[in-house]
Every structure is written in structure tokens, then in C-alpha cells.
Assembly symmetry: C5
Homo-oligomer: 310 residues x 5
């Protein structure tokens, strides 16, 4: 609820400023030509605009729907990441019994849980096309960090490291075979979430559709003044602006929603979610928060985006 209040109306309209100014100039021009040159030949019946408006509405509704579904699926995937990071941590902490000869076990458990935090941050940057190997020093030990440098796909490499440590846990007898398979199942979930996000990132929304809807909206806006001018005179100008801004805005919203990993304020808030995960996992580790980690985290580019308008 809170986030909602924060969105200034100016931001909402700022997105379609250019389109609105052009529309205003255009419809005013039509008015003056109509008025002073008595050019009344091309008054278009309102019914034409009605047909077009209804068709565009249906197409925009379909498109908004698909765009919303993509955005919501992205959110569900990251919600799943939260759930399974907590589950993974609970399993690591309770499957491995560190009540005696605990020093080594505790170290390995902490390494794996910290590495899971690194995976979240890394996936977040990977999806946004940023360098996925940055800012991970606080979460990975030196060996991991060096190995990561050689990898193409950083989160994939981190996931594999978890798999290797899982084998180590099993070989040392710290977890039994069922527990290994269960933990491996959780790693599989992480792969599925990551793959799902990459699918949304890499699959372009059918472009024929986008391009055509855009042309249709433009065409509708061009016709509109001719339909309204007879009834409204100069009042036609604000009316055209109001109606066309509706279509422009909804179209823009669909464009933003359909690509939720583009480093814009309307993205799925992956950095914020990763930070929540870090906080939860640290609570579970009964760990004191190291100040320098937060410093690193706060330097990330997402910082200036103080609200998510979606």
C-alpha cells in the first residue's frame, strides 16, 4: 500500500509526454484548419472511431494480459527463490549435526549458505545484463571467487559449486544418501527458477503484434479529431488528448511489464528480494550482520530507484 502513495502522477504521465505533446499540436492544427479554411469535407462519422476503439481495446486487453502474466511469472519465480533459499538453509542447518566436532561443519555450512546469497545477487545481475561476478567478495571465499572468474555463466557455476560441496558433505558422512538427494532436489529447483527467468528475459514478445497495435493506435489518434470536431469544436482538443493518452499509457505499461529484467524502476525488484533473502538467511544462521557487506550492497545501481511503479 505504502509504495503506491509514492508514485507521483508526473511520473505516470512523464512516460508518454512526447506522444501527448504531438497529439495536442496535431489536434489543435486540425481545429484551426477546420475553423479558418472551412475544410469540412472530411468529417468522419463517430461510428468508425467506435469500431476502431473497440478493436484496439480488445487487442490491448489481450496484450496487457500476456504482459502481466510474464511479469507475474517473473515475480513468482523470484518468490520461489526466496522460499527455496530458506528451505535450503533450513536443510543445511538441520541435516548436518554440528553439536560435536562442530568447527569444521559450521564453517562448511556457513560457506554454503553465504554462497547461496551470492547466487541470488549474481542471478539478479546476470538477468539484467550486468557483470554477474561483481560485488560477490563478501559472500564467497577466495577459491570460489577465482573459479568463478573463469566461468561464462556465473550463477550456473555457483550452483555447480553447491553440488560439489553437497558431494563433500555426503562423502564425509555428514549427511546420509536421502538427505543428499533431497538437497540436490532443492538445487534442481534453483536451476528451474533460473531457467524460467532466462526464458522470460530472452523471449521477445511477438513483435508483429506489438508493431501492429502501435500503428493501429496511431491511426486511431489521427482519425479521432475528424470524428469529434463537429460536436465539440475547440473542446475536441482536450478530448482527443484524454482518449489517446489512455491508449498510449496502457500500451506503455504493457511494454514495461513484459520485460521485467531491464534495469528499470518497473522491474521485478530482484536486488531488494536478494537483500531480504540475505537478511532471512543471516537470521537463520544467528549471524551478526557484518557492516561492510551492507556497504557493498548499497553501492549497487538499483539504489536510486526509490519506488517501483508497478
Amino acid at each position: 500500500m505504502l509504495l503506491k502513495e509514492n508514485i507521483p502522477v508526473s511520473y505516470v504521465f512523464g512516460k508518454i509526454k512526447k506522444e501527448l505533446i504531438l497529439t495536442a499540436i496535431y489536434s489543435a492544427t486540425i481545429y484551426f484548419i477546420h475553423q479558418y479554411y472551412n475544410f469540412k469535407a472530411v468529417s468522419i462519422p463517430l461510428t468508425v472511431s467506435t469500431i476502431l476503439g473497440t478493436i484496439i481495446s480488445l487487442l490491448l486487453a489481450f496484450r496487457s494480459n500476456q504482459a502481466y502474466d510474464r511479469w507475474w511469472e517473473a515475480r513468482i519465480l523470484w518468490g520461489g527463490i526466496v522460499n527455496d533459499c530458506r528451505t535450503f538453509t533450513r536443510q543445511i542447518l538441520t541435516f548436518v549435526d554440528s553439536s560435536h566436532d562442530g568447527e569444521q561443519k559450521r564453517a562448511l555450512k556457513e560457506r554454503m549458505i553465504r554462497r547461496q546469497m551470492a547466487w541470488c545477487y549474481s542471478l539478479s545481475r546476470h538477468l539484467r545484463g550486468q557483470n554477474a561476478k561483481e560485488n560477490l567478495e563478501a559472500y564467497l571465499n577466495d577459491d570460489d571467487f577465482k573459479a568463478l572468474k573463469k566461468a561464462d555463466n556465473a550463477p550456473l557455476a555457483i550452483n555447480e559449486m553447491q553440488g560439489h560441496d553437497l558431494r563433500t558433505l555426503y562423502k564425509l558422512g555428514w549427511i546420509n544418501e536421502y538427505q543428499q538427494v533431497t538437497l540436490d532436489g532443492t538445487l534442481t529447483n534453483f536451476m528451474n527458477f533460473m531457467g524460467g527467468c532466462e526464458r522470460i528475459k530472452n523471449t521477445v514478445f511477438p513483435a508483429t503484434y506489438s508493431v501492429y497495435i502501435h500503428l493501429l493506435v496511431l491511426f486511431f489518434v489521427l482519425l479521432l479529431p475528424f470524428s469529434l470536431i463537429e460536436f465539440f469544436g475547440i473542446f475536441q482538443v482536450p478530448l482527443v488528448i484524454a482518449i489517446s493518452s489512455a491508449f498510449f499509457l496502457i500500451e506503455k505499461m504493457a511494454i514495461h511489464l513484459q520485460d521485467p529484467f531491464e534495469n528499470m524502476p518497473t522491474d521485478t525488484p530482484t536486488t531488494t528480494i536478494s537483500r531480504t533473502i540475505e537478511k532471512n538467511l543471516k537470521q537463520m544462521m544467528k549471524d551478526e550482520l557484518p557492516g561492510d557487506i551492507d556497504a557493498v550492497v548499497n553501492k549497487q545501481p538499483q539504489k536510486q530507484a526509490v519506488f517501483y511503479i508497478l
Copy 2:
């Protein structure tokens, strides 16, 4: 069915009282200006209202759909919590055999089942932004209660305690390794339900959309009297009120449905569900109901909400 009869029509309209009064004043004013000042220049053709009305209907239908889906998903998640609390209890009761040296086992089983009740109440309050550590004395023992005080995220901490007791059960040989993994799977489900609810709670519905639909409805209501006045005269006033109240109401409903954890009478009834879970789990424990627990429960703020209008 019963719940339905209970909703007074006054409540339904009470939600949009302010909007309706303003609409009435506005359309009456238009009528008088029109009547006494003979201001007939701006009679808007009905077709304009038809276009706008259809577009708004489509957008509201899309929006209602998404809002309903969020609300229904929240209900499904809590339905899943009911199912898995029952399943968890059945598993605890039947996996651990307390027919001999039963005293200790029975105590641990009861502790875990009671703690599961605490988790439900705690999650319910956590989602509504209330103090999630309150009113849990009757369900947790002192150690748990103290440990909980230090935690940020109370239901997460309770879930972790269940994980620790699971390990204890396994280490004592009271459950075998498959049973541990199965019970751990049930705990994982609880994490998934909790994460799903948090996702719905924390993800704002695309605000561009909400803001724009609202502006569009207002714009439509402002135009409407000009479309109707020629045909209906004074009868225009009730007509405008009737039509605009349809749009206002559906918009309000969508707003309420889309955020089901806001401590309002239209919420997902998480407290009621938690109480049902408590009742079911106690039946399964063949437990006598302790009077003081109910006293505590009845003190909760949800009490005054006697009906759920959704």
C-alpha cells in the same frame, strides 16, 4: 451461503458514499445550469460515452480478473496451510510410535503440533503487519518463546525450530531417515505457502494501471451528464448516479480483492482459518480444549469483523 445474507446493502454502498454524493451534486448542478442558463452548446453525443464505457468495462474486467486471481491464490495458499497442518500432524502422530516409553515422545509430539498452531497465528499476524510474536504463549514453551523474541521474522524462526526438533527425532531414532525427509518436505511446503503469501502482500498491483483506470472513470462520469441531459432532463441525475456507481463499486471491489492481507473485513480470513486448524489439530491429538487458550484467541482484533463481504 449464510455469510451472504449477512451483508447489509448499506455496507456495499457505504464504501462509495463519498463518490456518489459528489456525483449527485455534480449532475444536479449540470441540470440547473442547463435549465436556467440555457447553456446547450456542449451536448455530447451518446456514442462518445458508449466508446468510453466499453473501454472502461474491458479494462475493469481485466483488472477485476487479476485482483480476483490474487485473492483466490491467497485463499488457495491458506487452504494449503490447512491441508499440510493436518498432514504434518498425522505424520508426527503416526510416524513416531509412542506406545512404549511414551511419556517423552508424547511430550515432544505435542510440542511440535502446538508449535505448528503457533506458526499459523504468527504468520497471520505477520502478513497483516501486526506484531507476529504476540498471543503465542499458549502454544509455545518458554524456551521457544524466548528464542522467538530475538528473531526478525517470527514464522520463519518457528519453522526453523520445527526443523531442529525433526533432527532431534531422527537422532533419537524415533523416526527413520525416509520419515525425516518426508516430514522435511512438509516443512518445505509451509515455507512455500508463507513465501507465496508474502509475495502477494509485498507486490503492488501495477500502479500505472490503477491510476489511469481511476482517472478514466472520473472523466467518464464528468462527461456522462452532457450525454444524457437532452433525452432525460431531470431524470438524468439518478441515471448518472446509477451508471457511475457501477463503475465505482467494481473498481473498489478490485482494490479490496487485490490486497487480501490488509486487516480489513474483506481479507482472507486467516484468523478464522488458524482457529479451524487449531480445532482440527486438537481433535487429532484427542486433546481437551484448554479454556485459557480460547480466551486469548478471542481477544484478537479480528473479532469485531462479524462478516466477510467478499
Copy 3:
């Protein structure tokens, strides 16, 4: 296909008889006033009815959709119960090997499979708000029957009994640990199906929505004669009846579909399904059908409902 032929048209219209008679009287009255008192002031343009009609259609389409989804989900849940009762029986029959010292094993297997039939009948009555402990003598032995009497939630108690017998099977060494966990998974499915049905039963469809659509339909029907009278004269009356009956019928259908456990002929046919399950399970047990069970079954209230109009 067969069931379809059986629905008399009279039944379909019988549901909205009252509404149709009132509509007929109303529109006829309007006609006579219009004719003999020459009251032509309030002829409403057809376009107003077009807007309203389209909006109502969209809202009814959305509502029908949600109602249909609830009804279909209820059907899927009971379909799942069929599947898992068969699966449970196959697992019980093939996991426990009764080829030697078979007498006792056979008795226990039969007890559990019969109890599963009891669970279906009991859940069916539980969902319809009937006494869920009735008519189960033929499926439960005396101990179970007595224990059931003390329980609040009968199907939950029966499910727990299955869990206890599962432990017995495991303790006697008749099933191994994997088989116990697998069978326990099937019991978990039963809990999920039951919880899903209870969720549909207990969650009222958003009432704001229902109430408002109803008012809107009434408002539309009240306006309709004024729109049509100029063009059709007396023919307006059948036209109004035809159009309004469309809206009334679809609204009624949605109301019936959305609550599929209300002991009406449009319910999910839970008793019929339970009987099919009983038949399938008995075939799998290669059991002779005991005459008295069928007698008991036939006494159930569902009997008089010879067709399901849905």
C-alpha cells in the same frame, strides 16, 4: 450425452419463473400507460440500453467464468479422489503380500479399503452439511465406528485411522519404509483433496460483485421497455421478456455453479462418484457385493435427483 436429453426445458425456465412473470407484468403495464395515457416523455434512446447491455454482458462473462472455474475445480478434486482411491487400493493390495499367513493380512487390507469407501461417503455428506457419520456401518468395523462418534470432523478422523493402520502395517513388517512413505503420500493427497473441497465450500464468492450485478440487471430490465416501445409497440413485451430472461438465466447458472456442494441437483455428483469408487474398489478386491450395503446407499437423499442439469 444421455444426461443432456433428460433436461426438460420446463426445468430450465422454472428456475426464473418468478422473475419472468414480474417482467411480463411490468412491460405490459408500461405498454398500456404509454398507449392510453399518451405518456411519451420518457422514451429512452436505444444506445443507453446498448451500453448497459454490453457492460452487463462483460461482467456476467467474467462472473460465469469464475463460477465455472470453481465448479470445474470441485469436479477435478473429486476426480482426483477417484484416482487416488484406486491407487491406494492397488498399493495396499500389491505392497502387502498375503500369499502366506494371509488370513490376518487379508482382513487388515479389506478393513483399510472399506474404510476408504467410508471416507468418500463421509466427505460427501460433510461437504453438504449433512451428518457425516451416518450410513457408514457397512464400511467400518465397530471400533472405528465408536471412535468416529467422538470426532468433530469425521473424514479427518477416518484419514487419521488410515495413518494408524499404516503404522501397524509397518511395525508388523508387512510393508517396508519406502512403501510406508509412499502410502503416506497417498493419504496426504486425500487431505489435499478434502481441504480443496472445504475451501470451495467455505469461501463465499465476492458478494459486492454478486449484489451489484443483480441490481444492474434489474435496472437494465426496468429501462428496457422505454427503449423498445417506440419501435415495437406491443411486440415490445415478448422482446423484453426474451432479452431479460437471457440475463436472468445466466446469472442463475453462475449462482448454482459457484457453490457445488449445496445438496441441489446441480451439485458435483459426489454420491454417484462415491458409489463408482465403491464399485471399482470392490472389483479390485474381487469381492462379492453385499446386498445390504446397496440398500443403505439407496436410502440416501441424493436418490430423487434423477438428472444433473449442469
Copy 4:
């Protein structure tokens, strides 16, 4: 793609021939009455037809959607049967090691895989209301065939036989306990697919809805000539035929799609799918195709249906 070319346009229109002829006669009659008797009183404004047409479109869209979903779900279920038959065969072939003392093992493996083919054919006939025990001699041995004769529900009985052989495999030590549970899980999937198909087969689509949409379409067609006659004269006749055939066709399509197991050319092609499964499973068995099986298969009633118009 190929299948598409095969549908003759005559087939598409053949389905609604009767309706179209009646419509043609009706609208022509209206024209002549209008022309020669000068009966111009009841010219209906086009707007009435617009409202009705839009409402019917919305209802048909909703209905087509649900019908399509049923049909597509049926297809998904049979797709799942394909997948799990392959999986079952792979598991049987690779879990049981027949490299030494292979004769007996190979025989049992072949028996189970052949029986799985029988299950597919049997389910296909069972769903279409045909004798589900016919044409299975080539896939079952004599004992199975005799046992099947006594069963009511043939595919259920075959599934149970698979369960019994699974126990035999386990008791002989040819598979371990995890493999038994895994294979049992695959059998459970078969039960779920079968139950899903039976659910679609046995659940009638809400009849109120079907009946009313049909009446509404008829009503619309009856009104249509009166709306068009003034503008088009004799050209009204082809126009009425064209518009009404659209509604008739879409309604018919929905009726065919919603019941995909009725032994019509628009069915889910269960026989073809079963034959594909047989072919795949035989490839996996590295089996030579026995000529007489194909002879039996080719005698089946599905043969004459050379194309699937869906």
C-alpha cells in the same frame, strides 16, 4: 499442416446444412411478405441486433473457450500417456538387468510392456463406450485375458495386473525397493490420466448454458431479416445466411470440442496415439513387428476417419 489441407469445405458446411436451408427459406419468405404485402410495420432498428449480436458473441467466446480447454486437456492427458508409456518401458528395461539368467526376465519384461500397449487400446475403447475387452488377444497372454473377462472396468483391471507383476519383480529380487516405488509411481500416473479422461467423458457441460445460447442464437436469426430488409432488400437473404452461419458453426464446433471421446472424427485421436505408443514401445524392445497384430488393429472402427477436422 498436412491434415489441415485435407478438410473439404463441404465437410465444414455439411455440419450446419439443415440450419442454413431453414434460414434461407425463412429470410426469403420474409422478403416476399415484405415486398408483396407491404407489411412494413415491424422493421426492427439495427441497434437491437447489435446488442444481441455482441452478447451472443461474448457468450459463444466464453463457451468456445471452455470447450477448447476440455478438448486440449483431453489431448494433454493422452500426451501424458505417451510420455509415461515410454518412461515405464525405459524403467522396466533398464531397472531389470537381464544380461544373465535372462530368459525368464526377458519374458516377464515383454509381458509387462505388451500389457501396457493393451492398456492403451483398452482405455481408448472404454472411453468411447465400446467393448474395452476386444482386440486385445495379441497383447495379453491367456491368463490375463481370462481374468480380464470377469472385470467390469477393463483398463483398471489391467493396471492392477501391472501392480501384481511389480510385486513379483520385487519379490524375486529383480528390482530393489526404490525401483518398485518409482515404477509404482508411474502406474499411479496412468491411474491419474485414466481418471482425468473419465472425468471429461462423464461430466456434462452446463446444460442451462448450452440450451440458452442455442435459443438466443435462434432468436437472433429470427430477428435479423427485419433489421436488414430496409437497407438491403433482396440482398438481405445472403447476408442473413452469412451472419447466422457464423454463429451456427461456432456453436457446433464448441459442441464437438467439449466431448472429445464420442467416436466422431473430431475426437481426440486415441487409437492413432495408441498405435504410436505401440510402435515406440516395440522400437524400445527392439522387437520385430508381428504381422497379425497390425491386422487386428486395422479392423478397428476408427479406420474410415481419414482426417481429424479439429
Copy 5:
């Protein structure tokens, strides 16, 4: 985002060039007949076009929706293949411990992972109706390659080979029984993805629907000039082209989307995805990329398609 910019507008319109030219000729002809022969009898009221346009819009929206769902499901299936190839590789690499007597184990591990790459390429070609056994020399050893030649269904045969090697791993004691069952579950997933793709490939979209929508669009375009000519004169021609091209384009898009495995630029990019999988799997194997594999890959027919317009 990038891919989007790449789509030339000419491509978008190129798809419907033929239809647009015919439409232009047709509407121009109508204009001249109207102008010079004064043939004004058949001016069709705009409302008729409105009804038809709305109905067609609804049907196209429904159809686009289903087509989009098929296309998106195909994409999800291939996304799942990516995920499970990574998972399979992680499991093979971490379940089998090759730190001692590693030579043989490493060889078997590499063979299985390379074979999985082969499966992806083979399935990709299989779905497009190309020879599924080509270009696999670099991924399969000679024995596999020869065995594959005898198979009908290449990806099915490769999956079975993986199953055989899994048994080998288990028999040699390199994986335990839980790990075998887990890896077998991953193979089952591959079967499900493959079956899902085949289902989409082989199930024709209901043809009645497609044919009828096409006829309806044609009919609408034929009527349109008569509705517009009175108001617009010669301007009618571009208007008809603009409106009809909207319908043509959306229809075309649905046709392309609904069959995503037809070897067209709008396909699901299965070759590109297979190459990504290869790259990921090689990173996980810490393998040097062999130059000749890429050479082979680059010879594939997908190469010339530099953009995916969907």
C-alpha cells in the same frame, strides 16, 4: 529488446502483401463503379460493419490467445529442457565421484553429457520434420551412432541409451540406488518435455474455427467499402486497406504462433537453445570447445534466420 529493433517493417507487411494488393484493387474498383456509374443502391449502413467487426475481433482475440498459449507452452518446454540438461549434468558430475580411478569414470561421464547434447539437437530436428540422425557425429561415439541408425524415433533411442548407461553406473557401484532413481526421474522429465513438444507439433488447431474466421474476415473486407464510400469518397480506399490489414495481420500472426516447430523464422528457436545448452554443459565439464563441432553446428539451416520476429 535488441531483437525487436531488428525486425524491418517490410517483413511485417511482406507477410500479407498479396492480400493487401487485392484489397486495394477491389476497393478502388468499387470507388470507380460508384463514381462513374452512379450505382448507389447498395450503400451498407456502418452499423452492420460494426457488428461484424466486433464479432471478428472477439473471435480473433480468442484465437490469438490459444495460439499464443501453444507458442508459449513450446517455449516453456524448451526452457525446461535447458533446466534439466543443466540439472542432469550437475547430477552426473557430482553424484559420480571421479577423484580416484577417475579415468574410466570421467570417460563415462563425458559420454553421457555429450549424448545429452546430441539429444537436444536430435529432438530439435525431429520436431521440424528433418532427419533427426544428422550432424550428431561430434556428440556420440561410434557404437551409439550405429545403434541410432536402426531406430525410428532418434531422440527416444538416445534417451533409452542414457537409461542403459544409468544402469551401468549403478551396477558398477558408482552411484547408489537413490541416485539412480533421482537420475531416472530427470530422464523421465526429458520424456515429458519431448512428448509435450510432439503433442503441440501433431495436434492441429481446430480447423473449423480457422476456416470460418478466414471466411468471415474476407466477407467483412468485401462489405467494408460499401459502408465507407458515402462518407469518405476516395479516402475510402486507404481506410479499407488499413482496417483490413489489421485483421489480416493478426490472423497471420495466430497461424504462425500456433505451429512453433515448422522451420520458419517465427519458430521456437530450438537450435539456438540447443547451442546454449551445449555451451553451458561444456562450461560445467570445464571442457575446451572443439573447433570442428562448431563448424558442424554452423552448417545447420537455421543459420540464415538472423532474427525471430515473434
